[in-house]
């Protein structure tokens, strides 16, 4: 499983990263939105733990870009800035979970594992659909619906 931790608080990420490794969750870290996007483009993690408030490209923008380009990546928001509006917006874009700082490490571990399971199940379902030819059918229907109506 590839996990990416994204937070501008370096000490927080370093400690969290080490604690997750002690629990057999290998992970990589990024300290701002730009670095996170670069990692995602290169290595496409399975699960991303993402802070919302960061300098530069903030977490919400990272989430938008990730879900647009790599919808299969499961994103867990971990933030100290827990406004209802932020949570609502991030759920609308498509997150796996929304957690508030400070978080219990065992809760975070269980949510990361659940997110990974969800991703695998999602891939298997997509594969099964493809095998049954459903994927192609759905894709063709969607393509047809996107075509401009002929006059």
């Amino acid at each position: 499983m590839k996990v990416l931790l994204v937070d501008d608080e370096q000490k927080f990420v370093e400690a969290l990263s080490e604690r997750l490794q002690m629990r057999d969750l290998e992970n990589e870290t990024a300290y701002d939105g730009e670095e996170a996007m670069s990692f995602v483009n290169d290595k496409e993690p399975d699960v991303m733990v993402l802070d919302l408030k960061m300098p530069g490209i903030d977490g919400m923008e990272v989430l938008r870009r990730v879900k647009k380009k790599f919808p299969a990546i499961r994103v867990i928001i971990l933030t100290g800035h827990g406004t209802d509006r932020d949570e609502e917006e991030s759920r609308r874009i498509g997150i796996f979970d929304y957690l508030n700082k400070p978080v219990d490490i065992e809760l975070l571990v269980s949510r990361i594992k659940a997110a990974h399971r969800d991703k695998i199940e999602g891939s298997m379902a997509a594969a099964a659909f493809a095998e049954a030819g459903v994927y192609e059918t759905v894709r063709d229907v969607m393509r047809d619906s996107e075509k401009p109506e002929s006059k």
Partner: protein, 230 residues
């Protein structure tokens, strides 16, 4: 001052306090999160220890100062917050403009960091004490700085200076960097003339040749007869 204007001013002041408090609570949660993770890391390392043989003592020596540092930062935040809250205890008091504004700049700094804008202060050491409304002065400076902070692009700079002039203090916000001001004033800017009138302060705004802006507020002691307006 009409009651509707008073009500509007009160609403805007509450919004100003709310914005700073929201930023502060986020920062405070960050400190707590770091303390929790570092503390958790020590716990995890302790579990791995063999009784009687501390193999991680060097790690502990590195982790513990990180916890202390965050506790000190959180305590400093509480100290500033307490000072900021008590500014509202009395509508009028003798104030050190430097202390009052340094406090506000401290609270604004995290917003500036998020925007990757640099904010700093430069106050003369011998500013005259002013008898005026400290909370309203902070609000006036916020009305100048906040809209700029929202507009300035990455790499922008805001410098707040304070200079003594006879028995007055000239507070200047030097606003440097790329920004596109909207045609209409923000609600904060629209509120400013009213606030300055209550403070009995003078205002000037200059756009320099390089596009940077200087906004100056000159404040002096206010007569007690203004008390009813505040």
């Amino acid at each position: 001052m009409k009651s509707r204007e008073k009500e509007r001013l009160r609403e805007m002041q509450l919004a100003f306090i709310g914005k700073l408090m929201a930023g502060l609570s986020h920062e405070f949660k960050n400190h707590l999160a770091i303390i929790k993770e570092l503390n958790g890391l020590i716990e995890d390392l302790l579990i791995l220890e063999v009784p009687g043989q501390s193999v991680n003592s060097e790690r502990f020596k590195k982790i513990i100062p990180g916890i202390n540092e965050r506790i000190a930062q959180a305590a400093e935040m509480c100290r500033v917050l307490s000072g900021f809250s008590h500014r509202m205890d009395q509508p009028l008091s003798s104030i050190n403009v430097s202390d009052v504004l340094q406090e506000e700049i401290y609270l604004l700094r995290r917003f500036a960091q998020q925007k990757q804008v640099h904010i700093e202060s430069l106050f003369d050491g011998d500013l005259p004490a002013i008898f005026n409304n400290p909370s309203l002065l902070q609000f006036a400076v916020f009305c100048v700085v906040w809209p700029t902070l929202e507009l300035l692009e990455k790499g922008g700079r805001i410098v707040i200076t304070g200079t003594g002039k006879n028995q007055s203090v000239e507070i200047t916000a030097i606003l440097e960097g790329k920004m596109e001001r909207p045609e209409n004033d923000t609600p904060w800017e629209a509120m400013l003339p009213q606030v300055l009138e209550i403070l009995g302060a003078e205002f000037s705004h200059r756009i320099n040749e390089d596009g940077n802006e200087d906004v100056a507020i000159t404040i002096s002691s206010i007569e007690n007869s203004y008390r009813d307006n505040t």
